[in-house]
């Protein structure tokens, strides 16, 4: 025992201690480059969008750089139909993400906490809706709404958005509930709380960060959704639909400014969620 630990194994001629750090340095260098390539790749389109919001372009075409200006921020609401499309999108995103949060939290909690008849199928269906192509979902929703005789408009868009974002909320909430110590709820019950009080005083506050990220996700999915919205909108114009329509006549810089503002709100939300989860994790 002692002899074998003292003696170097005869097979290894190179010193492993000398090799290891060298390999780590080249590896770390490569990783550095790779990281920055990916960051650049991800951020470049957004940077271009933000930059062209400051482009002093003479007309509606906003494809070549003509110098810096802040005037589009002042003339943000110059196109009333663009403004109303943005408002429509925001309203739909808020309503659908809140509905998806309410329904998705319930589903996620049930799936994380209990095994019940149909829970397996529900899991499967949720992943199916998340992974099924939007084009097919949109087309079938159109047939559904048309054959059901409902007119197309903000309501059908909202229904469609709730439908595809519910699963995302449910999955996020479910994974949180799975890591939630069951005895915490039992403790509340043991201390005299009803099932209702236990949920609102104990369970919900604990899973709130997960619900919050679910809402953010649903909001992000809704506000820029194009494909499903195009099928279910009828004559309603949402922000993405308006931009698509404007491509033929030129997309005004206001669109870039609005995009920048939406992005800023999204970043803010993500930062808040991140900080909160860090606070939670910190010992």
């Amino acid at each position: 025992m002692t002899a074998s630990t003292l003696q170097r194994p005869p097979a290894s001629t190179e010193d492993p201690a000398a090799l290891k750090p060298k390999r780590r340095i080249t590896g770390a260098g490569l990783l550095h480059v790779y990281t920055w390539v990916i960051i650049g790749w991800l951020i470049l389109p957004i940077a271009v969008m933000i930059a062209f919001g400051f482009n002093d372009t003479p007309g509606r075409y906003n494809q070549t750089w003509n110098g810096f200006t802040l005037k589009w921020y002042g003339r943000l609401f110059e196109y009333p139909d663009l403004t109303s499309a943005l408002i429509t999108s925001i309203v739909i995103a808020v309503v659908s993400s809140l509905l998806a949060a309410a329904l998705g939290t319930g589903i996620g909690y049930a799936l994380g906490r209990y095994r019940f008849t149909g829970s397996g199928s529900l899991n499967l269906v949720m992943f199916a809706t998340m992974s099924s192509p939007e084009l097919i979902m949109g087309a079938s929703l159109l047939s559904l709404f048309v054959s059901a005789g409902t007119g197309l408009g903000p309501v059908t868009i909202t229904i469609a958005h709730v439908m595809f974002s519910i699963s995302f909320v449910a999955v996020v909430v479910r994974s949180r509930v799975l890591t939630l110590d069951r005895s915490i709820e039992e403790a509340a019950y043991d201390l005299g709380a009803t099932a209702w009080t236990t949920f609102w005083k104990v369970t919900f506050p604990i899973i709130l960060p997960a619900v919050f990220s679910g809402v953010l996700l649903a909001f992000a999915l809704s506000i820029d959704d194009f494909i499903v919205t195009a099928f279910t909108a009828g004559t309603t114009k949402t922000f993405p639909l308006w931009i698509w329509g404007a491509t033929r006549v030129g997309i005004p810089p206001q669109v870039n400014v609005m995009g920048t503002l939406i992005f800023a709100v999204g970043v803010l939300g993500a930062v808040i969620a991140n900080v909160r989860s860090r606070q939670r994790k910190r010992d």
Binding site: I184, A187, G192
Partner: protein, 385 residues
């Protein structure tokens, strides 16, 4: 021979304190359904726990001790039988309406609430007046030595402090009984020993019945007024720590509580209330016998390792009238205060012997030494007697 059935009957002895028991099980059993099969978790059990008792449910994992506790708490409903609290039938009363509180193994503190809010949770549910709540929370935090920690959140506290919060959160409601589910399991040894003493002190101060679930026999022996040793859904023995240690009712209890040497054999003769089991001309085990024991009966005898004297090479005086077994030392483990020997004996069983390292260090026996083990008749105990 004694069977667990027999000891289960013994277990029905009433608690030492008279009057209505704090907790009573009458013919309770609990089955679980697992993949369409009925699995018994707790077999038919009668149990009475007295007012103010420190009562332990002791056994290996899966023995039914936690299920038993959860039936007291109201988290599990018995398959059959009745549960009484202070003489009231609570079999169908749900956990949130039962006047007992629980300290969970994981503490189960509310992570989003601070110490004060955690402790006040139960009183708020009972709609106790705010001033009364703050008075009672302050009082209980003082008892568990957490005064000044009101604003701390659970994650800012050590394991021992969290444990105290969990204790305070349950005790502040002045329950009929406090149920503790392996509450010290997550603490390190030193803290655990400290908390054992603390728990005993707190229990004396509040005077509430404690039901303590543990798999740690040392913990159960030090803290309890009475212990129920459970195995495979049955209470194998119920009694004071001393009774359980000195007079184990079954082979399982003898093995589970501390270290026991168990030897069996046929009764050669009974004289003066002592049964003698002979193995060779000089190797014999002498045990105080029940009146029913007859010549030829097969007995199981348990002897605690610290009661045995070991003699090296010198045959002991036969006149003591006690047990004598010759054997060979097969293992020597030095423990500082004592030395533990394993001896292969003439009775066929391997014996463990604890020898206090009192004076002569050169007294140590070596592996392979021929030795004689002797002990007084009263240190033999007939299992199941």
């Amino acid at each position: 021979m004694t069977t667990p059935q027999h000891s289960a009957v013994r277990a029905r002895s009433a608690p030492p304190a008279g009057g209505t028991p704090a907790i009573e099980f009458v013919g309770v059993n609990k089955n679980y359904l697992s993949h369409g099969e009925t699995v018994p978790a707790v077999k038919r059990t009668d149990l009475a726990i007295g007012q103010g008792e420190f009562f332990s449910l002791l056994g290996p994992s899966g023995c039914g001790k936690t299920t038993t506790m959860r039936m007291i708490a109201g988290f599990e409903e018995p398959t059959a039988g009745k549960v009484f609290l202070d003489g009231n039938d609570v079999t169908n009363v749900s956990a949130n309406k039962r006047d007992v509180n629980m300290v969970f193994q994981s503490y189960a503190l509310f992570p989003h609430l601070n110490t004060y809010q955690n402790v006040a949770f139960g009183l708020e549910r009972k709609k106790v007046a705010k001033s009364e709540i703050s008075r009672r929370v302050a009082e209980i935090l003082e008892i568990v030595s957490l005064t000044g920690m009101e604003k701390r959140s659970p994650r800012e506290m050590s394991g021992g402090q969290q444990q105290r919060v969990a204790l305070a959160r349950a005790l502040v409601n002045r329950p009929r009984a406090l149920l503790l589910d392996e509450p010290l399991g997550a603490l390190d040894l030193k803290l655990r020993q400290q908390m054992q003493i603390e728990l005993k002190r707190i229990q004396r101060e509040v005077g509430i019945t404690f039901v303590y679930v543990t798999h740690d026999q040392g913990e159960a022996l030090t803290m309890s007024d009475r212990i129920a040793v459970m195995n495979a859904g049955v209470i194998e023995q119920l009694g004071s720590p001393r009774e359980i240690y000195e007079r184990p009712a079954s082979r399982f209890v003898a093995g589970f509580i501390g270290t026991s040497n168990i030897v069996d054999g046929h009764v050669d003769r009974v004289e003066g209330g002592l049964a003698v089991l002979s193995y060779t001309a000089q190797d014999r085990v002498v045990v105080p016998a029940a009146p029913s024991v007859r010549q030829g009966d097969r007995l199981e005898v348990s002897i605690r390792p610290e009661k045995i004297d070991m003699h090296r090479g010198v045959p002991p005086v036969q006149a003591t009238g006690g047990s004598v077994l010759s054997g060979t030392v097969t293992e020597v483990v030095y423990h500082g205060t004592s030395t533990n020997y394993t001896v292969a004996t003439a009775a066929g069983a391997d014996f463990t012997v604890f020898d206090q390292n009192a004076s002569n260090a050169d007294d140590l026996a070596d592996r392979g030494d021929r030795v004689y083990l002797t002990w007084a008749p009263q240190h033999s105990y007939m299992i199941g007697d």
